[in-house]
């Protein structure tokens, strides 16, 4: 069916594998996200802190550079301790917060527009399942948040391992998988609720407000419960408490939140499952009114 040949013709060319079809949705989602210059600028800003830390790590092992900028190596060695605390609290905690902002900015536009403009029948009338659709959208957020959390984290880890030597690596090997696990849990626990809310609210600004509102109200309720009943149970609904407890559990450090590891894992699993169920309820070709 060439442009000059105005007749209908079928297509009998090659087809892409069915299993990776959901990646088409991810590719288009990523392209749409980066179509906004404001988002692109913010995303670039997200790499500022890893670059600062990279610089600090470099200086720590480079006496010549320290002399050039008139800095005492002892001060720097004291100030920049590259250990579990460095990766967990100095690097990852900040990056996860930025990841949260990325999810908040990008998440709603991924599904709300499709549902508002009734695009679901168009997707689902093709060889694509609801799981493929959700997976395709999750991959967008997964790639964006991964790119500013565990991916640069692993890069910093590899650089530090090469500078610090075998001894440092043997002592701190747990940091690498811990960063990946904590980031992955964070991605799921932020992305699924954001997508679910966007699917129900269908309007981007409102979806963001509702998501923030839920986090803030959950935190307020949890803090009130903790104060009033002097119990860790309140932390179950405080997203950042759960994240801290999970992070401490995975990194093997002492957490700031008095909450059992199992409770934190349960809260994260419950949040992700509930959000997935709500999202699935909405991602349909048509609503059936019984």
């Amino acid at each position: 069916m060439a442009v000059y040949d105005h007749g209908y013709k079928g297509y009998d060319g090659p087809l892409m594998p069915a299993r990776s079809r959901f990646l088409v949705i991810s590719r288009y989602g990523l392209r749409e996200a980066f179509a906004s210059r404001l988002f692109l600028a913010f995303f670039a800003f997200c790499f500022a802190w890893p670059l600062v830390l990279l610089g600090a790590m470099y200086l720590r092992y480079n006496a010549e550079a320290l002399t050039l900028i008139n800095l005492d190596s002892a001060d720097l060695l004291e100030f920049v301790q590259v250990n579990t605390w460095f990766f967990q609290s100095v690097f990852l905690r900040n990056q996860l917060m930025l990841g949260f902002v990325v999810v908040l900015v990008t998440g709603p536009s991924l599904v709300s527009a499709d549902l508002r403009n009734q695009a679901m029948p168009l997707y689902l009338s093709r060889p694509l399942t609801r799981t493929d659709y959700v997976l395709g959208k999750l991959v967008v957020l997964g790639v964006l948040v991964s790119a500013i959390t565990w991916a640069p984290g692993l890069l910093l880890f590899v650089i530090q391992a090469s500078l610090g030597g075998r001894e440092w690596l043997l002592e701190h090997w747990r940091i690498a998988p811990a960063m990946v696990i904590v980031s992955a849990v964070w991605i799921l626990c932020m992305s699924l609720p954001m997508l679910a809310i966007a699917a129900w609210v269908k309007w981007k600004p409102w979806a963001r407000i509702v998501f923030l509102g839920l986090i803030v109200s959950g935190s307020a309720l949890g803090e009130f419960y903790k104060e009033f009943y002097d119990s860790w149970l309140g932390s179950m609904v405080v997203a950042f408490d759960v994240a801290d407890a999970l992070s401490a559990s995975v990194f093997g450090t002492q957490g700031t939140v008095q909450m059992p590891d199992t409770a934190a894992w349960f809260a994260a699993a419950a949040l992700a499952s509930l959000s997935a169920a709500l999202l699935y309820r909405r991602v349909r070709a048509f609503e059936v009114v019984k």
Partner: protein
Amino acid sequence: MGEAAPVIDLDGLGVRFGRHQVLDDLRGAFSGRAIGLLGPNGAGKTTLLNTLLGFYRPTAGTARLFGMDITAQGRELRRRVGYMPERDAFIAGISGVRFVRLMAEVSGLPPEAALERAHEVFFYVGLGEARYRNVETYSLGMKQLLKLAQAIAHGPSLLFLDEPTNGLDPPARLRMLRLIREIRDSGKARIVVSSHLLRDVEECCEEVLVLNRGRIATYCNLAEERRANRRFLELDLAAEREGAGSSFRAAIEGLGCEVAVVNRRRIKAVLPPGVEVRHIYASAIEQDVTIRRLDHKRTSLEDIFLQAMEGDDGRL
């Protein structure tokens, strides 16, 4: 895909939403190049389309498209299907060509082929000049054509069109019907058109399935009906002499026609195979009868539809 298998094979198909039985025991096999689904609002046309597309799960029976079960082989079937929904459906914030390309890629086309096809279908449906415009800026008629473009971008072998002429002005409607006929005549895709507009179905379809209250009210093969109608004549006569009418009637009966007398000046006749209208004229000349009017029977789809819609008590 079995070539000999019917396009749609309904096998006791039923769909129930809660207590509401929307489709009930639908049976039949349909093989036409273009199949029309007719029925009043709420008859179950869209539900049938949605069930065939796998959006709803049958609560009873099953259906097959090209011999493939809609439940067991849904994913494979949807690769071969194009769907134009009734309501506005698009992806906001992107250009028309990008939207159609995305839809083609989701159907499995490689990115380069999808882009090429997207451009081609835009020109095919007549939106070539508007292909870089944001889809939200399209008029209603353009959105209808856009929906058709995304439905055919991946070259489906079965096309579901739900109310394709909805909201179109007369020229746009004619354009849409012409496109549907062209696709039908290309032989590359079978078409199922759901509409409540009898005229549209009559102009595009060869087979018609009339639904009423979730059941099949009637099935009509329009192509055969048209052929049969060509054999059914209604004649207005003016006899030049006494008894000429009777002798003319006897003469055409002699040709093998079945004849019924409506009144002294009007008769109805069914032509047997091998007898053409010119033989009737020849008999009229022989019997000194003037044929003032000769009409073929014109059972319109409207007649068929109205007959099918008649309730048990004989009222509509």
